[in-house]
């Protein structure tokens, strides 16, 4: 073996050792960064879980003031005494709900007067994001609950839709909600409930009940337990609604 050969061998050997060192380093980095990634994701997942659990505590039965007049497990306000039950899930911020009220509201009022239907209004809040953080959906639904307790649900419900704010505006402030209440004859106890947000956590519970029943959008209209929609799944016309009521009455 010549000197040159030996030198070449040594260089080759050194290169192999360096390569092994680099591989070892790469392996270590891969393992530890992978462990880090999994740990971060687990922590994030638990954080989400924790935040949810914390929020759920707020709607715990002991924290919720259920309006004394509420029906259907304390999640709705009944209007009328007819044999057919009509459940209406509405968000006071929802323009289509307003459209439904304009379109079919008079027919519903007639059916109530004729003692053909019992309407159960469920004021839900799924559009809180559409009021620049003022949570208008929750506040207005809470105010409607306060109106119901003081015996003026329908009147207040109607005046809220007549004064519906634009989506993605701040909504009506509490002073305006109270003023609207006064316009339909609501007094101090109503104003106090609005200011104290007495029924706001209850609204969250109503919304939860709505979702747990598999409903996702507002307005959801249910006649004797059966959801009523147009042919393509949208808002039913007054005719479709009336037919559903007539069919349910038998």
């Amino acid at each position: 073996m010549s000197k040159g050969d030996r030198g070449r061998d040594r260089t080759a050997a050194r290169r192999i050792v360096e390569q092994q060192k680099a591989d070892e380093r790469r392996r270590k980095v891969t393992i530890w960064t992978s462990v880090g990634v999994v740990a971060v994701l687990l922590i994030a997942g638990f954080a989400g879980w924790g935040v949810l659990a914390n929020q759920e505590k707020k709607t715990d039965a002991s924290q919720v003031t259920t309006p004394s007049v509420a029906v259907d497990d304390g999640t709705a306000f009944a209007v009328g005494t007819g044999p057919v039950t009509v459940d209406i899930y509405e968000d006071f911020m929802c323009p289509i709900c307003h459209e439904f009220e304009n379109q079919t509201g008079p027919t519903i009022a007639q059916l109530v007067t004729a003692k053909k239907v019992t309407v159960r209004y469920h004021p839900v809040a799924i559009l809180d994001r559409a009021s620049n953080g003022t949570q208008y959906s929750t506040r207005s639904a809470g105010a409607a609950a306060a109106a119901a307790v003081d015996g003026k649900f329908v009147e207040y419900h109607n005046v809220l839709f007549q004064n519906q704010p634009e989506e993605n505006s701040d909504g009506l402030d509490n002073a305006k909600l109270i003023e609207l209440g006064q316009s339909v004859g609501l007094g101090d106890s109503f104003a106090k409930a609005v200011t104290d947000k007495t029924y706001d956590t209850w609204v969250t519970k109503v919304t939860d009940t709505f979702s747990s029943r598999g409903y996702n959008g507002t307005p959801t209209i249910v006649v004797n337990g059966k959801q009523v929609t147009s042919a393509n799944g949208g808002l039913p016309t007054t005719e479709i609604f009336s037919q559903a009521v007539a069919a349910a009455a038998g």
């Binding site: 790469r26 960064t33 879980w49 949810l52 929020q55 799924i126 959008g217």
Partner: protein
């Protein structure tokens, strides 16, 4: 000629292309998670609208999902265990796509809730499932590219391996 000694232009460009893919995917997840994390109840309702699980499960998934998306976005942003992060992103995106396909197949009328809080569509609006799927497939392609070529610039991986 040895390719390692004389890298082609494309080979030299790959780390940069991968870097763009990594940062793009990070932005996607950070945006998607950030839009949902402010209202977990709405996020839960969006999951519930897919009608694939009980409401209680949907609530939990809806609460955990935005946090996972943000975490994944941050991991991609700093570039740690890029191949694994890309693999997890790909799995997540495949689940999202499967969910949208299933909603479409069942004729549900929902907002996918991808970059919003989702839920049922208001009357008159039609679902855009095709576009949603196309977009998610695009994101999946980014994840696939990262899986294939995980070496990127400005990454924690590169720093730890002593790359310049």
């Amino acid at each position: 000629m040895d390719l390692k000694q004389q890298p082609s232009r494309l080979a030299a460009a790959w780390p940069w292309i991968s870097t763009l893919a990594r940062l793009g995917l990070a932005a996607v997840f950070l945006t998607a998670g950030g839009l949902k994390v402010t209202d977990l109840a709405a996020s839960g309702r969006a999951v519930n609208a897919y009608d694939l699980m009980s409401y209680d499960t949907a609530k939990a998934v809806g609460a955990v999902q935005p946090f996972l998306e943000i975490a994944l976005g941050l991991l991609l942003l700093i570039g740690i265990a890029t191949r694994l992060s890309a693999a997890i992103s790909a799995v997540v995106l495949v689940i999202f796509i499967a969910g949208i396909v299933s909603a479409w197949a069942r004729g549900l009328r929902i907002d996918c809730g991808c970059f919003s809080k989702g839920g049922e569509l208001a009357g008159g609006r039609t679902a855009q499932y095709g576009l949603d799927i196309l977009r998610d497939v695009g994101f999946l392609a980014l994840a696939g590219l990262l899986l294939w070529k995980p070496r990127t610039r400005f990454s924690l991986d590169g720093f730890l391996l002593g790359e310049k």
